[in-house]
Amino acid sequence: MSLERLRFAWWSRLLPSGDGHGRLLATVLGAAVFAYIAWKIAQSPDQAVQFAFNGLSVGAVYALLAMGFTIVYSTVWFFDLYYGAAAAIGAYGVFYLRSQDGFGGQDYTNPYVTAMLAAVTAGVVAWALYETFFHRLRPRYGRRVLYAAGGLLAVGAGAYMGLVLSITDSTNVILSPAIGVLVALAAGWAIYRGSRLALPTFNAVPLLILAAIVGIALGGYCGFLIADTPGSKLYLSWGVSCLMAGIVGVGFYRGLYVYMREQARSPLIMLVATLGILLAITAATSIIFESNPRPLPEAFGSAPWTILGSNIKGFNIFAVGVALAGFVFLLFLLRMTSFGKAVRAIGDDEEVSKVVGINTTVIIAIVFFIGAIYAAMAGLLSGHDTAIQPRMGLLLLLKGWIASVVGGIGNLYGAIVGGFALGMVEQFGIWDLAGEWKDVISFMVLILFLSFWPKGLLPRE
C-alpha cells in the first residue's frame, strides 16, 4: 500500500498514455512526407509518373481488398481472417483450372479438392434454396416435395461444380450452358421489366413471351459463342474461382461463424478461430500446389503501354477499372437498395435488426459472399500482376486491413481512398529505398495512422 506516493511519481508522465502532443507531431510528419514527395516529383517528373502508375496498379488491388474487408467488418464487427485465404483461393483457383495450359502441362487438379469444393457448393446451394423458397412454397407443395426438389437441385449444382473443376481443358464448353441460362434469364428479365416500365398499361402476356424468346435466343447465342471460344477459358476461370471463394466464405459463415458468434464473448475468439482457418487453408494450399511462387498464365494486356513517357500495362488499367467498378457497385448496393439498408442496420445493431424482422443470417451471408469475391478478385489480379504463392493470402489480407484502417474503418469511401493512398505511399516510399522495404513502409504507415489518426482519413459517420 503506497497510495500517497502515487501523487509524486515523477516518472508517471514519461510514457504517452493519452493523445497529448500527437496532433502536432502528426501534422509535422504529414507535412514532411508531402514536402518530400513534392520535392521528388519536382526533381524528376518522368519518374514520378512511373511511380504514380505503379502506385495506381498496386492501389487498385489494395482498394478492392479494403472495400471487401470494410463491408464485412462494418457488418459483423470482427476481423475475418478467412478473407486472406479467400484472396489465395481466388488466385489458386485460376491456377487450378488453368494449370495444364501453361507450366509444362502439369495438371494440378485433384479429385479430393474437387469433391470437397463440390460438397461445399451443394451445401451452400441447399441452404440458399431453403432460405429463399422453403417458407414461401411450403403451404403449396408440402415439406417432403420441397426437400426432395431442393436436395436434387443442390446435388445437381454440386455435381456441376465438380464437373467444372475436374474437366479443366474445356472449361468454356462446360460452362457455356450455365452462361447461356444466366444470360437468357438476365436478358429476359431486363426486357420484361423495361417494357413494363415503358408501357405500364399494355397486356403483360405478349411482353412475357417476347422477353422469353429474345432471352432464349440471346442466351443460346452467348452459350454457343463461349463454347466456341477457347480463349475465354482464362476469364471464365476467374469467374469460377471468385465464385468458389465466395461459396467457401458463405460455407464458413453458415457452417461455423453463426454458431461461434452465438457464444463468443469477444471479437478475439472469432479472430483466433479465423486465424486457424487461415493457417489450415494456407498449409493445405501449399500441400496441394507446392509452396514455391508461380506465375499465372498471361492475361490480356500484359504488354506495357507507354503513356506520358512511362510504362503501364493494360492489365493494370483494367485492375484500376475493376476497383472503381467494384466501388460503384458497392456504393449502389449499400445506398440505393433495401439490401444496403439492411446491411447498415445490422452494422448498427444486430439484435435490433433481428427484432424488426431482417433475416440477419441471410444478409450477413451475402455480405460474406461479396467480401470473399472482392478478396478473390484482388488475389487473382495481383497474381496475374506478379506471382502466386500460398502465403500471399496473409500479406494481402494485412494490406487490405491496413488500407481500411488508413481510410477509416467501416467507411466505403475511406476504403477506396485508403487503398489507393496506401499503394501510392508504398510506391513513392521505395523511390529512394529498395523495393523490398515496401511492407515495412506500409506497416509504418499503419502504426503512424493508428497512433495519431486512429479514425483514419474518412471516419465512419
Partner: protein, 351 residues
C-alpha cells in the same frame, strides 16, 4: 494461484482407487488432456528410444520457452501478440553476429561485422537487446488493444522479418549466418545433442521459474486485472502502461533468450526461421495448451512437437509436407477449441 496443487493432490488420492478415479475423470477434460498428452509423449519415447527424446527435446524446449513467455503477454495480460517471433529473431541474430566466426568462406559473398565472442558473453547482450527493442516497440504499442493490437503485432513481425532479410550489411540477408558458436564453459563445449539438451532444459526451467515467480506475485495479479478491465485497474491506482510495458519487455527478453539458444543450436540461421507463420504457430501453441497457465504452454509445446513427429508416420504424406500437415491440424484444432473451449486445454482464461 496458477499451479493447481489441489488437482495434483486429488489425482494422487484417486490413483489409489480405480473406480473413484473413473468417476472423477468422467467429464474432466483437463485431466484427460494431461493424461493423453503425457501418455502420448511417453509412448513415443518408449517406441522410438531415448535418442528420439534427445533429438526432439531441444526443439520442444525452445518452443516451450517461447510459449511460456508469450503466455505471459497473451494469457495473463490479454494482449494477443502475433509478433513474438520478432524478438526471437532479434535474439538469434544478435547471438549469431556476436559469436560467428569471421574466418569462413561464405563471407566472401557479403561481409558483415563479426566478433567471435563466446556464447555466454553474447547471450546476455542478445537478451538485453531484445529487451531494448521491446521497450521502444512497447511504448508505441501500449495504446492499442484487442484486435488492433493483433494487427500492429502482425506489423512488428513483418517489419522484423524484412529487417532480417533486407538489412544485408548486418544480417547477410537470405544467405544467412553460418558458424555460430556452440556454448562453452572453459574448455568444455556443449557439442553433443545431449549436453545441449541439458543446457536448453536448464534455461527452460529458469524461464518457467521466473514466470511462476511473476504470476504468483502481486504484479501477476495486477496483470490479470489489466486483462479483465484496464480502466478499472487504473482507477485503483495502477499505472497500466507501466505494467503492460514491463511484462512486454520481460516476455521479449525471454524470447530473445530462446532465439540465442536456437541460433547456437542450429549454428546457422537465415530469415526463413523467423517468418510471421512461426509466430502464428506460437500463438496456436499458447492457445491450444491453455491461456494463463504455465503448464498449459508446456503442454502446448509438447503437442506441437509430437504432432510433427506423429505426422511422419502417416503413410502417404511426403516428408517435406509434414510441417504443412501439422499446420492444417493445428488450424482445425484452433477452430474447434474456439468453438468449444475458448480457454485452451488446461487454461484459466477464456478469450
Amino acid at each position: 494461484m496458477q499451479i493447481d496443487t489441489t488437482a495434483i493432490v486429488d489425482m494422487l488420492r484417486l490413483a489409489q482407487s480405480p473406480r473413484e478415479f473413473l468417476r472423477f475423470a468422467k467429464g474432466n477434460l483437463e485431466l484427460w488432456a494431461n493424461l493423453l498428452i503425457i501418455g502420448w509423449a511417453v509412448v513415443f519415447m518408449v517406441w522410438q528410444g531415448t535418442g528420439f527424446a534427445i533429438s526432439v527435446g531441444t526443439v520442444f524446449a525452445i518452443w516451450a520457452i517461447l510459449a511460456v513467455s508469450l503466455n505471459l503477454v497473451v494469457g495473463f495480460t490479454g494482449l494477443l501478440s502475433v509478433g513474438h517471433v520478432g524478438f526471437f529473431g532479434l535474439g538469434a541474430y544478435t547471438v549469431a553476429i556476436l559469436t560467428s566466426d569471421a574466418a569462413y568462406e561464405q563471407l566472401r559473398t557479403e561481409a558483415i561485422p563479426t566478433f567471435g565472442l563466446p556464447f555466454f558473453a553474447a547471450l546476455p547482450v542478445a537478451i538485453l537487446f531484445a529487451g531494448l527493442v521491446a521497450v521502444a516497440v512497447g511504448i508505441v504499442f501500449n495504446r492499442f488493444r484487442d484486435d488492433i493490437f493483433v494487427l500492429v503485432s502482425f506489423g512488428f513481425a513483418i517489419i522484423a522479418f524484412n529487417v532480417f532479410l533486407n538489412l544485408r550489411s548486418v544480417t547477410r540477408g537470405a544467405f544467412g549466418i553460418h558458424e555460430i558458436a556452440r556454448p562453452e564453459i572453459g574448455t568444455w563445449v556443449f557439442d553433443g545433442e545431449l549436453e545441449f539438451l541439458a543446457l536448453v532444459v536448464a534455461f527452460l526451467g529458469l524461464v518457467v521459474l521466473i514466470s511462476w515467480f511473476i504470476v504468483t506475485s502481486s504484479f501477476g495479479r495486477v496483470l490479470t486485472a489489466i486483462r479483465e478491465d484496464e480502466q478499472a485497474t487504473e482507477v485503483f491506482g495502477y499505472q497500466v502502461t507501466h505494467f503492460k510495458l514491463a511484462i512486454w519487455v520481460i516476455s521479449a527478453m525471454m524470447a530473445g533468450l530462446a532465439g540465442g539458444l536456437f541460433a547456437s543450436w542450429t549454428t546457422f540461421i537465415d530469415p526463413n526461421s523467423f517468418i510471421l507463420l512461426e509466430s502464428m504457430l506460437l500463438v496456436c501453441i499458447v492457445i491450444l495448451g491453455g491461456l494463463a497457465t504455465i503448464w498449459g504452454s508446456l503442454l502446448g509445446a509438447i503437442v506441437f512437437v509430437l504432432l510433427e513427429e506423429g505426422m511422419r508416420f502417416i503413410p502417404f504424406l511426403p516428408a517435406e509436407y509434414v510441417g504443412q500437415a501439422r499446420q492444417v491440424v493445428l488450424g482445425i484444432l484452433l477452430v474447434i477449441l474456439m468453438l468449444f473451449r475458448p480457454q485452451g486445454l488446461v487454461g484459466r482464461y477464456k478469450l
